[in-house]
């Protein structure tokens, strides 16, 4: 169902063209986002939440400066007021500008991009979707020690329209579905949590529920949480480590994605998200990891969270190699950062919503598959641990010293899995860690996942990014569990 009238973005775009002020350059980015959150916790249906968020981001370049104004008021008066505010900010910023204003968007491109959604979200009504969640939640209460259990679905339908002074018109539409199953087990002072999602979020319709085999997960999720109560702590020491895609997602995100962002390298993020150990001269020469490390920026993967046709500055999205055979080739920076740095980049200037300006973001950042099956990787470990599903993450502001924790792990001895371990964690230094990459799973072992809550920027922005990866093997990592940290 819909609880409000979708905004026809052509209408405010037309209004704006009629009133656009006399300025050197301008762009208008309109967004209309409809979302729905359904959740069942402890067998109680939580309040159904619908939301619509509609607004405009006007960017103006004038008098040697650049300014923006975002408004939810799409009336003629509202857009005129915002345009004036953007113009005032351009003039205010001009004498203090960091760099001359770039061209605001592409030449006169007219294009549309839409992610496929085979089974529309509305194919099932809200009551039917709640019944599904009630059933999934009920199946997680498998034991008295399961003390909290929940199932939820989040859906978002996002449409944007970018127009500019050059005559560009770019329309894009995405449908995003994020499931979450979560079980909490407790006995005495020991509590363990196991989840499925939200790293399984992606673009598409209800067909994603089948793709993810959501119906097969509740007992497994709750069973894992229960089993972890009785598992020993993860062993501590310098051990071989296999990371499943549910942890590789975070490892790629924090220690490859963020360090390669050109705006970090240019210093924009130093007051908040941090800087980078990567410096401009490293591109084209720096060995980021072992020869098994291959990383692409690929906004064209069907169903991945951050697939799009154009970024929010209107640059056409293309697949690019960032790291090939271990060698660093290219950073994550949109046209503005590329011009400032003189470095190659990608179409990744993205904004979290209409009320924030675009900055360099990851989009889909994928670790390309290798030649080994998961069984091959396990057989290649004499003493080690396999870990899955991130639950804790921390890394320094240069994106070098990290410590991550997972929901669960398995001890590996003599090439075989030898039992569940709880509270697994590991730490390392990015620049050394990727050089210890000794095995990469094949295409059959690859999972397409993502991070829905990547925070960055001032003012702050939260955005979804996609990560696809197979399981990977690392040699000689500092591993620990629980009190051993």
């Amino acid at each position: 169902m819909s609880i409000s009238t979708p905004t026809d973005l052509e209408v405010p775009a037309r209004r704006f063209r009629e009133l656009v002020p006399a300025v050197d350059d301008w762009s208008l980015r309109l967004a209309d986002v409809e979302s729905e959150t359904l959740s069942v916790r402890r067998d109680v249906v939580e309040p159904v939440q619908f939301a619509r968020d509609t607004g405009a981001m006007i960017t103006v370049s004038d008098g040697g400066g650049m300014g923006y104004a975002a408004t939810g008021d799409l009336s003629r008066a509202g857009l005129a007021k915002a345009a004036e505010r953007a113009r005032e900010w351009a003039h205010r910023a001009a004498p203090l500008r960091l760099f001359p204003p770039p061209a605001l968007g592409p030449p006169a491109i007219r294009d549309e991009w839409q992610a496929p959604a085979l089974r529309p979200w509305t194919e099932l009504d809200t009551a039917a979707k709640l019944r599904l969640l009630q059933e999934l939640a009920r199946r997680m209460k498998i034991h008295d020690d399961i003390v909290d259990w929940s199932a939820s679905l989040g859906f978002q339908r996002r449409q944007t329209l970018l127009v500019n002074a050059q005559g560009a018109e770019i329309r894009q539409a995405q449908h995003i579905l994020v499931p979450l199953l979560r079980a909490v087990a407790n006995r005495g002072g020991e509590t363990q949590v196991r989840s499925f999602g939200p790293d399984r979020g992606g673009q598409g319709g209800l067909e994603r529920l089948d793709t993810l085999e959501l119906g097969a997960q509740p007992e497994r999720v709750a069973g894992d949480a229960l089993a972890l109560l009785d598992a020993p702590d993860c062993p501590a020491g310098t051990l071989d480590l296999i990371l499943m895609p549910g942890q590789m997602t975070l490892q790629i995100h924090e220690s490859i994605g963020h360090p390669l962002e050109l705006d970090r390298i240019l210093g924009d993020e130093r007051n908040y998200a941090g800087t980078s150990f990567v410096t401009p001269e490293m591109f084209g020469t720096y060995r980021y990891g072992s020869e098994l490390l291959n990383v692409t920026f690929d906004p064209g993967v069907a169903g991945e969270l951050a697939s799009f046709g154009y970024d929010d500055e209107g640059t056409r999205a293309e697949r690019q190699w960032l790291i090939r055979d271990g060698l660093l080739l290219r950073g994550l920076g949109g046209t503005t950062s590329q011009a400032r740095s003189g470095l190659p980049g990608v179409a990744c200037a993205r904004a979290s919503s209409w009320n924030r300006p675009p900055i360099d973001r990851m989009a889909n950042l994928n670790l390309e598959p290798g030649q080994s099956s998961l069984g091959d990787l396990i057989r290649g470990v004499e003493h080690g641990v396999l870990m899955d599903t991130n639950r804790s993450w921390s890394i320094d502001d240069s994106r070098n010293k990290f410590q991550f924790g997972c929901e669960l792990g398995w001890r590996i001895e003599d090439g075989e899995l030898r039992g569940l371990v709880r509270n697994p964690g590991y730490r390392g230094i990015s620049s050394a860690f990727w050089r210890s990459l000794a095995g990469v799973g094949d295409r059959d072992s690859l999972s397409v996942m993502g991070v829905g809550t990547c925070g960055k920027g001032e003012p702050n922005q939260m955005i979804a990014v996609g990560h696809a990866s197979p399981p990977c093997l690392f040699r000689g990592v500092t591993v620990f569990g629980g009190a051993g940290s």
């Binding site: 249906v45 159904v48 939301a51 607004g55 104004a69 910023a93 003012p459």
Partner: protein, 438 residues
């Protein structure tokens, strides 16, 4: 913005059918933002946004719709009607919600906190002028924030504040920097200039050759901002009633009475002393103060409206995370912190904290900005970034040597979605055995 909520509430009153009720929660801001790098403007602009969350109720059933408001009745009314109709059609298909709670009629609440805001041009001139020649990176936010609540039983709350916050780093080189902050409601250009000069003076020591520490345990002084980073991680689930009853709180052993913190440790949610609205999104008026830890012992939890119904306790929080955390002071003079450390570290800021072991209430994170080595009570050199991993039970238990008598109000400069109204009032802490791991 107030008129946006008033008009919406009037319209909604007229749309209600027999047996129906509504609540409406309003959030709005008119903010200027300026982002700087290299003491020059990187991005700057204005954000004007208003948002209403409508909760429609009937026969114990309810559902919510959040909508943008424009302030233009002709544009807003059709959206509110469509939302009401859509929710009305859905309600018969939903089960009753046993955990739903909203405030009944009561005394209308009004909280208007007028400020003297800077002109944006003046603000940038003072900031960049005082920092001329320095590598300043930072962010300024200034403007009006509003929150409101209205209900079909005549409930009404309004909160409006005019405030600003500046948050900057002065860089010496690479990752060597000092942090500065200035926030409030009464703009004083000389106060800003003075603070920038203060952070500039701290840069001198950052020019010294940095020390690379070995992992181990150190005697440290945690400035209030550093202590805030650790407490903010604990606060994610540590003080909420739902997390306590479902055994997820990292403070489980404290809540069970299995451990105690140092008797000097007392933590409250002090809504009356904070900068956030004093009502919840469901319209409940919040108590002035909720004791969370008292004399080192667990004292209470924050219960939002849903938890209050689920667990049968009064509502005492807008959400189950502190927005106005306050820690009792100690007796150590802040000026004496370096001398009290003797040989160890002065830590101005910590960063990127996360729970590393829930059962031990352990937090890991990094040092950032001015982390200084102290020898013989004198700061001597900056320290290369180090990772810590510490249990709160150790940090504020047997490891705690003292808290400062002076406290600092740390304003949450967060702007995810909208500007935050959170803040905390904290002392600094002198601690022994602080573990650095990498």
């Amino acid at each position: 913005m107030r008129s946006s909520l008033e008009r919406a509430a009037d319209l909604l009153h007229g749309l209600m059918q027999p047996g129906e009720a509504f609540t409406a929660y309003f959030e709005g801001e008119d903010s200027d933002f300026a982002r700087l790098n290299g003491n020059r403007v990187r991005q700057a602009g204005n954000v004007l946004q208003q948002r209403l969350t409508l909760d429609l109720m009937r026969d114990g059933r309810h559902a919510q719709a959040a909508l943008p408001l424009t302030g233009d009745p002709d544009a807003d009314a059709p959206q509110l009607r469509a939302a009401t109709d859509g929710l009305r059609a859905l309600l018969p298909h939903l089960p009753p919600d046993p955990h739903h709670a909203c405030a009944g009629p009561g005394t209308p609440g009004e909280d208007f906190r007028a400020g003297r805001l800077p002109d944006s041009r003046e603000l940038l001139e003072v900031l960049t002028g005082t920092a001329e020649g320095l590598d300043l990176v930072g962010h300024c936010a200034t403007g009006r924030l509003c929150r409101g609540f209205a209900g079909s039983a005549g409930q009404w709350h309004w909160f409006e504040t005019e405030s600003f916050s500046l948050d900057w780093s002065l860089y010496h080189r690479a990752d060597k920097a000092v942090k500065g902050r200035y926030a409030g409601r009464e703009w004083d250009p000389e106060a800003l200039a003075s603070r920038i000069r203060g952070t500039r003076d701290q840069l001198e020591i950052m020019a010294c050759e940095p020390v690379r520490l070995e992992p181990g345990r150190y005697r440290v002084f945690l400035a209030p901002a550093a202590l805030m980073e650790i407490l903010s991680v604990i606060a994610w689930q540590g003080f909420g009633l739902r997390a306590e009853r479902t055994r997820q709180t990292p403070l489980l052993r404290l809540a069970d009475g299995a451990v105690e913190l140092h008797p000097q440790v007392s933590l409250d949610e002090h809504s009356a002393g904070g900068q956030a609205p004093r009502f919840s999104p469901e319209g409940f008026t919040l108590p002035d103060r909720v004791a969370l830890i008292n004399g080192g012992r667990h004292a209470g939890c924050l219960a939002d409206a849903r938890s209050s119904r689920e667990y049968g306790v009064p509502v005492n929080a807008a959400a189950e995370r502190p927005r106005s955390l306050e820690m009792a002071p100690g007796t150590l003079a802040t000026d004496e912190a370096a001398r009290a450390v003797g040989d160890g570290l002065l830590i101005a800021d910590l960063w990127y904290g996360n729970l590393s072991d829930r059962a031990r209430c352990a937090v890991t994170g990094m040092t950032r900005y001015a982390c200084l080595q102290v020898a013989g009570g004198i700061p001597v050199a900056p320290v290369e970034p180090m990772r810590f991993d510490v249990s709160l039970y150790q940090l504020l238990g047997e490891g705690l040597l003292g808290l400062t008598r002076e406290r600092e109000r740390i304003v949450d400069t967060g702007t995810y979605g909208q500007r935050s109204t959170g803040s905390a009032l904290l002392p600094g802490a002198l601690v022994r055995g602080f573990p650095l791991t990498l």
